[in-house]
């Protein structure tokens, strides 16, 4: 077989290099028949505008996807996957990770042109989701998914899609509360305007009464609906005999409302309802600002969003049947095809297994398994189909039993008390003392002034600035960190990060790069021609190791290959004009095993002479040494790894002598390791990546998951760190610490305002205008201060 290589053409559909002989169709080059088929489908349906919006937008469709979707014909699974259905139409939301450009949106929203039974389709680009309405009696869900797959958009349907029944509804109540507070605030301000300017000639008695009553009417929804969270939270805190920030806020709100209503009804003044509405509006604004969410990220994923819904079962007669993963029982024989995930612990019965464990352990190099060997759930098969005998059910497997641990069942019990709440305890007590003592002081003079002073203190001391500083600071910090590819689950993670005393690292995939291995060649110096031959031979193989080594060889030329043979699981052989070349495992090349089998090696033989071997090792992340050196100054460092301790010496030079190492740790061991540290009063941050770290990430005070590609799966955690920002970890920690300092300073500012306000209040001199100026002014000062300060800190610390 002679292979002619053209290296210059680029696929019209997907933009990949057409390495093999390009397929020429309609004057366009395609890299594979899959891409050509997609073009044909689109061309027949006049959908070629797809190629006009963006250049080469396509995705090469997967090659073996046809049989996979039998399970979608199952009535129960169908019911669970769809959002809604009536007599003839059903609505389904599918996650299409391939969506990447505007051409995708255009094509996917024109699906109805491809099949008349699709009624409409809508893309949410940021979430990479598509909502499709279709006539399910004419077009089955399976056919629909197969259609999407055939044009390159293969939906990702996982076990979690069917296991939790409740359709997640988004909580929009905070937005409604803000909207209503804003509406009432604006109108109350407008109606109170004559008061501000002292337009007494307008102040016909009828008018001021009328305005007052309208203000009360407008402030009712603010008090009863918009402010309900604060009142409830304060009530609950009092019930538990504790004080949080909401207690003084609720006191202030109630004092404001009661005093205003009294003044308006008794016609003695115009009240402070504008301040009340403004206060609640700004506080809700802070709450919303603090809720920074990322459309594509989820911090709550467990193994269910990783495992597939179904697997192929082979029954006693040898027939293939698609069954739900949860129905698979011990002793069943299952079939796993290329790129499918092994859902349960099993023994290899037939075939050649190359297991890619990168999601579980972070290990980038696929592991070879022989017939009879045990394969743990979670790995992905690369290469041909294999048959496995199930030895444990899904929920009991090595990996998934981790989720039975109490760390996952109990709610987070080791949350720190927030800085604001800690502060408000003292604050509330001081305020109450001042309020009562000023009331007591005026009591002898006049009861009226006493009540006036008492409510004034509560009103002016209402810690709105205090309540605003943390949300706005944290909201800003979340955004800044998000911009630098460190995505936090919520604001409390920032506070937790500042209290960390110990950092625990996972090894593989965390401090090593999952996507990159160091490849070294051991043996004789290779001649140029020999390198070229190896290069050419490797290119023929789709084995992950071949691909890795192939891409690491530079400055080599492709030669003409005369014959080629791949021995699955062992290696490849090829002949050139004068030479025979073989590349493969040690056993395959030398027919005996000398080296330690733990390291990954690929041997080379040319014309019956073994020339040496390539060794693949995980390479450490860039700047690892620098990062660890900085961290070791302030934190205790630990390393836990599921691997053996062969690298310990090397790691010592990175971590320093004070660090502690633990090897051969199973997933539960990692969890217990963290627990043990916490029992010694350490606040632990765990930095890990794969599913096997999920327990440790959950148990730790702050679990950080490192991900090469944030769009792919990452286990439940408090923060997701894009691997490219790994070297910034010390800066992020410093930045979080700095932000706490900012909050402390902003507290001082708001206390200063309070002192000014209180000096009016205790004298019984507080007027609505003073309140209307002082309260928003203090809030705005604090917000402006923290926003500016966090940005300046960002420039100083991170963006040097």
């Amino acid at each position: 077989m002679s292979v002619q290589i053209k290296n210059t053409t680029v696929c019209f559909h997907c933009g990949e290099d057409c390495l093999d002989e390009a397929i020429l169709f309609d004057n366009k080059h395609f890299c594979c028949s899959g891409c050509k088929t997609v073009f044909e489908i689109l061309n027949q349906n006049n959908l070629c505008d797809y190629y006009d919006i963006e250049k080469m937008p396509g995705i090469s469709p997967p090659k073996n996807a046809i049989k996979k979707y039998e399970y979608l014909d199952n009535e129960q699974i169908f019911e669970k996957l769809i959002d809604f259905k009536d007599e003839d139409q059903a609505l389904v939301t599918l996650f299409l990770p391939q969506i990447h450009c505007s051409s995708c949106i255009w094509l996917l929203e024109n699906l109805y042109k491809l099949n008349p039974h699709i009624v409409s389709s809508r893309v949410n680009f940021l979430k990479k989701e598509i909502k499709i309405a279709f006539n399910y009696s004419d077009l089955s869900l399976r056919k629909l998914v197969e259609l999407l797959t055939s044009i390159g958009y293969e939906p990702e349907i996982t076990f979690s899609n069917v296991s939790n029944n409740k359709k997640h509804s988004i909580d929009r109540s905070l937005i409604f509360k803000l909207g209503i507070a804003g509406f009432c605030f604006g109108n109350i301000m407008l109606i109170s305007l004559p008061d501000y300017f002292g337009l007494d000639n307008l102040k016909d008695n009828d008018f001021s009464q009328f305005f007052g009553y309208i203000n009360i009417l407008l402030s009712l929804p603010v008090l009863l609906y918009s402010a309900s969270d604060y009142l409830k939270s304060a009530w609950q805190a009092m019930f538990r005999k504790s004080i949080n920030i909401d207690v003084p806020i609720a006191l202030g709100i109630i004092a404001l409302f009661a005093r205003s209503v009294y003044e308006i009804i008794s016609n003695t003044g115009s009240g402070y309802l504008d301040s009340l509405a403004g206060l609640i509006f700004f506080m809700l604004l802070g709450k919303i600002f603090q809720q920074k969410t990322y459309a594509i990220l989820s911090f709550e994923r467990d193994y269910k969003s990783y495992f597939p819904i179904s697997t192929t079962l082979i029954d006693a007669d040898g027939n293939e049947k698609s069954v739900s993963v949860s129905e698979v029982k011990v002793g069943d024989i299952i079939l796993i095809r290329n790129n499918e995930i092994i859902p349960v612990d099993a023994l290899l019965v037939e075939g050649c297994a190359q297991i890619d464990n990168s999601f579980v352990t972070g290990e980038s190099v696929a592991v070879h398994k022989n017939v009879g060997e045990k394969i743990y759930a979670g790995g992905k098969q690369m290469g041909q189909a294999i048959q496995l005998e199930v030895i444990k059910e899904l929920s009991q497997s090595y990996l998934t039993q981790l989720w039975n641990d109490e760390a996952f069942i109990k709610q987070q019990h080791h949350q720190f008390e927030g800085i604001t709440n800690a502060m408000s305890k003292y604050f509330t007590i001081v305020i109450l003392i001042i309020a009562f003592s000023s009331a007591f002081f005026w009591w002898q003079t006049s009861i009226k002034i006493a009540i006036h002073a008492f409510t004034s203190v509560l009103i002016i001391a209402c810690p709105c600035a205090l309540a605003l500083s943390a949300p706005f600071t944290f909201g800003n910090v979340l955004r800044v960190l998000g911009k630098n590819k460190f995505y936090l689950k919520n604001a409390s993670v920032i506070e937790n990060l500042t209290k960390i005393s110990t950092i625990v690292f996972d090894k593989t995939g965390t401090i090593t790069q999952a996507s990159k291995s160091t490849i070294t060649f051991h043996g004789d110096m290779l001649l140029k021609e020999q390198i070229d031959m190896i290069y050419t031979l490797l290119r023929q193989s789709s084995h992950p190791l071949s691909k890795l080594i192939f891409s690491s060889i530079k400055d080599a030329e492709l030669l003409t290959l005369i014959a080629f043979k791949e021995v699955p699981g062992k290696g490849i052989e090829g002949s050139f004009n004068h030479h025979k070349v073989a590349v493969g495992s040690e056993l395959f090349i030398k027919e005996k095993q000398d080296l330690n089998p733990t390291s990954t090696t690929v041997f080379i033989k040319i014309d019956d002479k073994v020339l040496g071997y390539f060794q693949l090792e995980n390479s450490y992340r860039n700047n690892l040494k620098e990062v660890l050196k900085q961290l070791s100054k302030k934190f205790k460092l630990h390393l836990i790894s599921g691997d053996n301790d062969s690298e310990k010496k090397n790691l010592m030079t990175y971590f320093g002598s004070n660090a502690q190492f633990s090897f051969n740790q199973r997933p539960e061991d990692k969890l217990n390791y963290i627990k043990k540290l916490q029992n010694n009063n350490e606040k632990v941050a765990m930095i890990g990546d794969g599913l096997n770290d999920a327990g440790a990430l959950k148990q730790s005070n702050v679990g950080v998951s490192i991900s090469e590609n944030i769009n792919t799966f990452s286990p439940a955690c408090d923060a997701i760190l894009d691997a490219s920002a790994f070297d910034k970890i010390p800066l992020f920690l410093k930045y979080c610490k700095g932000s706490m300092r900012i909050i402390e300073v902003s507290f001082i500012i708001s206390f200063l305002y309070n002192i000014v306000g209180l000096s009016f209040a205790v004298q019984g001199l507080l007027s609505p205008v003073v309140a209307a100026i002082l309260m928003p002014l203090s809030s705005i000062t604090v917000v402006v201060f923290v926003t500016l300060a966090t940005n300046i800190l960002y420039r100083k610390k991170i963006n040097k």
């Binding site: 505007s102 809508r122 893309v123 409604f176 109108n187």
Partner: protein
């Protein structure tokens, strides 16, 4: 001046109708996806222009 009573009630009603519109739009999911509509709205125009260009080219060839 008593017309103010009516005017204020009218203005409040108008403002309230906007509030209702806002709540309806949030409930309707209009704020869910802030990106895709911005791309979607460009499709028709862009493609028509494309085809016009093609037509012009074709004409000029003729």
């Amino acid at each position: 001046m008593s017309v103010l009573f009516i005017l204020i009630i009218v203005s409040l009603t108008v403002a309230a109708s906007f509030l209702v519109a806002f709540i309806w739009s949030v409930k309707n999911g209009q704020y869910e996806d802030g990106y895709t509509p911005s791309v979607r709205m460009l499709f028709d125009d862009e493609l028509k222009q494309e085809s016009k260009k093609h037509q012009i080219k074709n004409k000029s060839i003729k």
